[in-house]
Symmetry: C2
Subunit: 320 residues, 2 copies
Amino acid sequence: MPDSFVIGIDVGGQSSKLGVVDSGGTILAQCVISSLQADLDSYIGDLTDAVRMLTEQVKEKGSVRGIGIGAPNANYYSGTIEYAPNLKWSYIGGKPSIVPFAQLISDKVGIPVTITNDANAAAMGEMAYGVARNLRNFIMITLGTGVGSGIVVDGRLVYGHDGFAGELGHTCAVRDGRLCNCGLRGCLETYASAIGVARTAREMLANDKRDSLLRRLGAEKISSKDVYDAAKQGDELSLEIFRYTGTLLGNAFADFVKFSSPEAFVIFGGLSKSREFFHDALMKAMNDNLMTVWKNRIKVLYSSLKESDAAILGASAMAL
Amino acid sequence: MPDSFVIGIDVGGQSSKLGVVDSGGTILAQCVISSLQADLDSYIGDLTDAVRMLTEQVKEKGSVRGIGIGAPNANYYSGTIEYAPNLKWSYIGGKPSIVPFAQLISDKVGIPVTITNDANAAAMGEMAYGVARNLRNFIMITLGTGVGSGIVVDGRLVYGHDGFAGELGHTCAVRDGRLCNCGLRGCLETYASAIGVARTAREMLANDKRDSLLRRLGAEKISSKDVYDAAKQGDELSLEIFRYTGTLLGNAFADFVKFSSPEAFVIFGGLSKSREFFHDALMKAMNDNLMTVWKNRIKVLYSSLKESDAAILGASAMAL
């Protein structure tokens, strides 16, 4: 009997990754197209051509019965991508607009399309194929350029009344703190993302007199990778930068526990490579801020999915 | 055809209220017993006697098919009341312990029993009979002696992995702030409850040189009712106390929106009588801390249920 597959599409600001996934989570075929098209029709054309090509590649083994998409500012309920500043083809008259993305694709390829934001897709991926396979209540936190989140309650993603639930990267970590891209101040994302770590480094270098390997770099150019490399060499200021990051994450996690009482957090994304430097501070801050009923009982796990596959797997899990 | 009813039981620290409720939310019969019993068997005996008496009173009209209970520290999953400091009959060897409350009662009266904490019961009551009748995503906030919460996502209460989700009164409102009964610092409940308002009054009287009607009262005895009475008379310091309370509530609400994106908050409890003095500050702080997608779109509603009936109705809704 021919198998049935799903296609996962990860729409990023630079490129879009597509993969055909079987029920066991194996990627059978994949490809990448550019996301930098300025024109919506051209981008949709490229994307649907890629879907057809992949479907063709696996047709001997089985058929594609659904498409799942993870994309910035995607709304599960309406199937739209709404006001995504990093996707030029979503602009109308020079401004990000609302694109009926799921509809445009399913109309062209005749396969049902489900869409959600990247962090929600990551949560679905962990539940289907990763460390959250046996969890019915957990919170996915993606630590990348920004901080994203997907909240799973009783085995289901929390979308809220409008499809936009789970913006934990924009909860307030520091009252009247750093200015965020979203226009608010003190958002968790301005501290606990790759960019946040670099901002912390610049602040600490300015306010702290200690010597540091980081002082050899131009302050404005310092990246979270530089801080990681210096921490690896035992640079005390860099270690402190990660402890501070972990503490703010832990404080925030404690409040998130009081909301949905998850069994675990699952962390994914580039910054999680530095976990050896922030994990202990995170756990201490979280437990210091939890009531007895939760203290030392909430797990913090890290994604076990291969980073290059995770986005496709997560998106594909939306179509399961 | 005889009707079928449910019994709602509100277990408070002083007294327990019971009522038989019909499908339209009318309380057909009710009674009150003391919660001050020191002995578990005696208390359960009184409670089940009261259930039998109420069942007897309505038997001409119909039968009771379920019992719903709202109680402090109640766990929906296990049917237990766990470590409730204010319920003396739950103590073993001088310490609050775990009581299999639902089981004890259903064994005695032969009717299925569902139990949850007071704020969750209040949320169910608003959904069944109150202002949340048409809402599938909202957050119930009870402003009483403490601050409780019940979170509804997609029409269902959020219980979390252990049954203890929805402790928003213990999210951090002020980092390293006031000491809370739970052992943590800066909990929302230490600012936005009746007791919190009284603490704010004492702090402001100590730190602010302005004259105030409150200065005629002994600082240690000031209650939130005193602050309300003074605000009613235009006392500027008292008005500021409520503005501060509203601001901290609004800051907190903004972060809660980023979690579950509710259509509305529903506020209930004694302190909500002072809404005329804190509502504007709450709305301003909430909207100042929301991203564009939510700004000026999230409603803050107040319970429309008669306060004396609300607890019974809420508990009864658990059994629907």
